[in-house]
C-alpha cells in the first residue's frame, strides 16, 4: 500500500465513554461494536445520533463517531457532526502518514475556499472554515513534527492539506 492510514488514535478506545459522555447514551455501546467489528473483520464503521435543537426551527443536528481499523489492528476513533450546543460542525478527517509528508483530507461541503483557514502551531493544525450557519472547526494532530506552512487545495467540498515533515 502506497499510503498508510495513521495508526494511532488520540485516546485509548476505552476512554471513549468518558470523552463523549451524554452522547454515548444515544449512540449505544460503542465498545461492544468495536469488538464485533474485530470479530467480523470489518475495517470501518460509523454510528450516528440525531439531535433536535428546536422543533419550531426545524433544525436537526447529526453527531456521531466513526471507527476505522488500521493495518496494525488498532482502531482509530474519530468524531464528526455537530454537537448539540454548537452551530459548528466537526468535519470528517483522514490522515495519511507518508515518508516525507502528511496528507490530510477534510470533508468540508458547502464552504468557499476563501473561508478556510489553517493555523499550524507546535505541529498541531487548527482548521476553521465556513461562515454563517455553516461552520466547521477541527484540531488535527498530524502525528509528526511539521516544518513550513501547510499547503491546501479545495475542490468540490473536499480539502486536501499537505504538511512537510521536519
Amino acid at each position: 500500500m502506497e499510503k498508510q492510514r495513521k495508526k494511532m488514535n488520540d485516546e485509548p478506545v476505552l476512554d471513549f465513554g468518558l470523552k463523549f459522555g451524554g452522547i454515548l447514551t444515544e449512540l449505544g455501546n460503542f465498545t461492544q461494536d468495536i469488538t464485533r467489528m474485530v470479530e467480523e473483520g470489518k475495517t470501518e464503521m460509523s454510528k450516528t445520533g440525531e439531535i433536535s435543537f428546536d422543533r419550531s426551527k426545524k433544525v436537526k443536528g447529526m453527531y456521531g463517531v466513526s471507527v476505522r481499523m488500521g493495518g496494525d489492528g488498532m482502531p482509530r476513533v474519530d468524531t464528526f457532526g455537530r454537537r448539540p450546543e454548537s452551530d459548528t460542525r466537526e468535519p470528517i478527517v483522514d490522515i495519511f502518514d507518508e515518508a516525507e509528508r502528511v496528507q490530510v483530507i477534510v470533508e468540508l461541503p458547502g464552504v468557499e475556499e476563501k473561508d478556510i483557514s489553517l493555523e499550524l502551531k507546535d505541529s498541531l493544525l487548527t482548521l476553521t472554515a465556513g461562515k454563517g450557519d455553516r461552520k466547521y472547526k477541527k484540531e488535527i494532530d498530524p502525528g509528526a513534527e511539521i516544518k513550513g506552512e501547510p499547503k491546501k487545495k479545495y475542490k468540490n467540498g473536499i480539502l486536501e492539506i499537505i504538511l512537510q515533515k521536519a
Partner: protein
Amino acid sequence: MLADTLYGFDVFDEPDQVQVIVELPGVRKEDLSVDMRSTTLDIIARAGTRQYHRHIELEIPVKSDPVISGKNGVFGILLGKV
C-alpha cells in the same frame, strides 16, 4: 461505504415547489443523477471512490423535471409541485 452515512439532507416545502438540499462532498454537478418516481426521489452520485445514494420520500406530488444547482459538494434540487 462510510461516507454515505454521515450526511443528511433537508427538504423545504415551499408554496409552489419543494427544495431538497443534499451534502455530497467530492461530487461535481455532472456526477449527480436524480431519479424521480411519483413522490419518491433517488439521488445517486459517483465520484471516484465515493458513492452516494439518497432515497427520499416526499409525500408531496411533484413534477419530474428537477432543476439541480450547487457547488462545493452541496446541491439544491428544485421540484415544482403538481
